[in-house]
């Protein structure tokens, strides 16, 4: 191959860059396909029911997935059975892990995350006797052997919004959210609605992180938060994955307040994070498995405030030691509890942006 380094060849090289990076990326995921099945046997005694949990990402310090693991372990204990956890690292290993789980034919295969929707649909059709439980997402078509547990995050976000409305000094609240989709708008629109319910004069605005890698880009999320804070916003809902830390930093620097998601994030910025909208994956996994074993599979169960699947750190036990700002505002918590009770009783319904 001739090696000429001329200026003219640059456009060609650029084209090579583009195709090359795509090919290499594909090859890289292909290599990883040698799956990382961190099979963790829960117990050696057989006879009882068996459950396999497949995660979309490595569990590690991912609090959300840790809760799912807790749920499966608790279910194994309750039903005197065994459990296994298959951790995936990319889409190829997700596919392999689901296949491996189905091949072993446990009583229930539990899958967490929207990543599995298509895979589960295929497998459920191919293996009609295998029971599946999907958590935090569902297949587009319904199957008799697929049960789903989904969350009504918007109810929790509404309560966080009410806290923000009550705590805001400027009357301006905002949200920094990963992407502008119905599912993610569950973290912005209800936040504004809750704030307006608690303090009618509140105004609200939203920034979406977007960009090349919206889930990783904390510097970009921080600038988005800054653009809200520059306009006088003093309460910011953060639903930006890794970007949340950027939002917390921005709020801390300006003396403003932020709200976290999924788990207790107050510890990453004590004095800045007011409260968190928490998603109890363990409850959903445990109850979902129970329903399947009772022969009530094939249904979609929605978890919100009423079912105890969604909550705020401030409404849970141990709020005093949570490092959350809300622990110092008992009066606000009282009002939020009253609001929660109205939602639980069905007197008040929170609009779901994902349903539009």
């Amino acid at each position: 191959m001739p090696r000429t380094r001329t200026r003219r060849s640059r456009s060609l090289r650029l084209a090579a860059v583009a195709t090359g990076s795509v090919l290499l990326a594909a090859a890289a995921t292909g290599c990883n396909a040698a799956a990382k099945d961190d099979a963790a046997d829960g117990g050696s005694k057989g006879g009882g029911a068996s459950f396999t949990l497949v995660t979309p990402d490595p569990v590690g310090q991912n609090e959300f997935l840790k809760l799912a693991v807790d749920g499966v372990k608790a279910a194994a204990k309750t039903h005197d059975g065994t459990q296994k956890v298959y951790q995936s690292s990319d889409s190829a290993s997700q596919q392999q892990n689901v296949q491996a789980a189905v091949d072993a034919a446990p009583d229930v295969v539990v899958l967490v995350g929207f990543e599995f929707a298509d895979l589960v649909a295929q497998q459920a059709e191919a293996h009609p006797k295998q029971q599946f439980l999907m958590v935090d997402a569902c297949t587009t078509k319904t199957y008799a052997n697929v049960s789903c547990a989904v969350f009504r995050e918007h109810e929790g976000v509404y309560l966080a919004g009410a806290e923000a409305g009550l705590l805001s000094g400027s009357g301006k609240v905002g949200a920094v959210v990963v992407l502008d989709t119905g599912q993610f708008r569950r973290y912005s629109d209800p936040f504004a609605a809750g704030a307006k319910e608690a303090a009618p004069k509140t105004s609200a605005s939203t920034r979406f992180v977007g960009g090349q890698s919206p889930f990783d880009d904390s510097a970009r999320a921080k600038e988005q938060a800054n653009s809200l804070l520059a306009k006088g916003t003093d309460q910011v809902m953060a639903a930006a994955a890794a970007g949340n830390y950027g939002v917390f930093e921005a709020a801390e620097a300006k003396g403003a307040y932020a709200y976290g998601v999924d788990v207790n994030q107050c510890t990453s910025a004590p004095g800045t994070v007011v409260d968190n909208v928490i998603k109890k994956t363990d409850v959903a996994v445990q109850e979902g498995i129970g329903q399947v074993l009772d022969g009530k599979g094939g249904k979609t169960v929605s978890y919100g405030l009423k079912e105890g699947g969604i909550s705020l750190t401030g409404l849970e036990d141990g709020v005093e030691s949570s490092k959350c700002v809300i622990a110092e505002h008992e009066d606000v918590l009282k009002k939020v509890e009253a609001l929660r009770d109205r939602i639980v009783s069905g007197e008040l319904t929170v609009d779901d942006p994902a349903a539009k």
């Binding site: 990326a25 590690g60 310090q61 090349q212 600038e223 520059a230 950027g246």
Partner: protein, 293 residues
């Protein structure tokens, strides 16, 4: 008001890491090494900066370590493309992929966490007049590299090596040595860019946190035709487009549209600058072909 000091500050903050990396890219381009490994070198800088600052408690040591680590990482490109005559494009892509995997792996082994390492006691860079000291360094680096390339004998030789390596070699200038220097310098600058991103723009490390900034720097090098001032203007254009995009969201423009803003700006700038270059070339051609002196 749409254009105010907050918008400008936001743009300048977004600009700093891109500018530092792009200056490194420009030096390589001038020395005849097409460096697209900026993203990977920057990411190595991010991780080293955070890890060093965490274990020593000094963000300055973090900056220093980031520059050294990224320079060491850039040896892959230097050895691979200059000594072993490999394809710089392939090497650059490999470096970018390796950096994502390596830093994620190190994050797990060193800190025992996945995704993001963030601790309230992690020391970041102090702010001087609203900016991190590295921002001022980036501005100074524009001037220094512009002077170096246009006035200093070292810079002139570097350009000579890039444009006509054989001619440079006959004059006793070692192309390999200058190319190594350019690549290592780009490593140092990308390391600083990474330190600025991880200890200046934010104070944390998250996997793949460079999020395409290295690629934007590559485009800035091309758009600015590898001239330090041109690169500065290109990077400034990106910074402004991004900050304005955030602002436009507040005025109701959808995120998908504002996301495209920096790229639309790039395309327009690319068309305009190419058209201008064509016109200039058309104007000068008759005189150069007519007179041969």
């Amino acid at each position: 008001m749409f254009f105010d000091s907050d918008l400008l500050m936001s743009a300048l903050r977004a600009l700093t890491p891109i500018l530092l990396a792009a200056l490194g890219g420009a030096l390589c381009e001038r020395a005849g090494v097409f460096n697209i490994g900026l993203e990977g070198m920057m990411l190595m800088g991010c991780f080293t900066a955070v890890a060093t600052s965490w274990f020593t408690g000094s963000p300055w040591l973090g900056v220093l370590a980031a520059a050294l680590a990224a320079a060491a990482y850039s040896l892959i490109l230097a050895v691979g493309s200059v000594t072993l005559r490999g394809d710089a494009v392939v090497l650059g892509i490999a470096m970018n992929l390796l950096a994502v995997g390596l830093t994620s792996f190190l994050l797990r082994t060193v800190f025992g966490v996945q995704g993001t390492f963030d601790d309230p006691s992690l020391a970041g860079l102090p702010l001087v007049g609203g900016f991190s000291p590295l921002a001022y360094l980036a501005w100074a680096a524009v001037g220094v590299s512009a002077l170096l390339l246009s006035r200093h004998v070292w810079g002139l030789r570097l350009r000579g090596v890039g444009e006509a390596p054989e001619a440079a070699a006959t004059l006793g200038v070692s192309p390999a040595r200058y190319k190594y220097a350019a690549v290592l310098l780009s490593g140092v600058l990308c390391g600083l860019a990474g330190a600025q991103l991880a200890l200046g723009n934010v104070t944390l490390f998250s996997e793949n946190m460079t999020a395409g900034r290295g690629w934007i720097a590559v485009v800035a090098v091309m758009l600015g035709r590898a001239l330090p001032l041109g690169v500065l203007l290109a990077a400034l254009l990106f910074g402004l487009a991004e900050a304005a995009g955030f602002r436009l969201q507040g005025l109701g423009m959808p995120q998908q549209a504002t996301d495209a803003a920096p790229y639309v700006v790039t395309l327009v700038a690319l068309f305009l600058s190419t058209a201008q270059r064509r016109r200039r070339a058309a104007r000068t051609r008759p005189s150069t072909t007519g007179v041969t002196s």
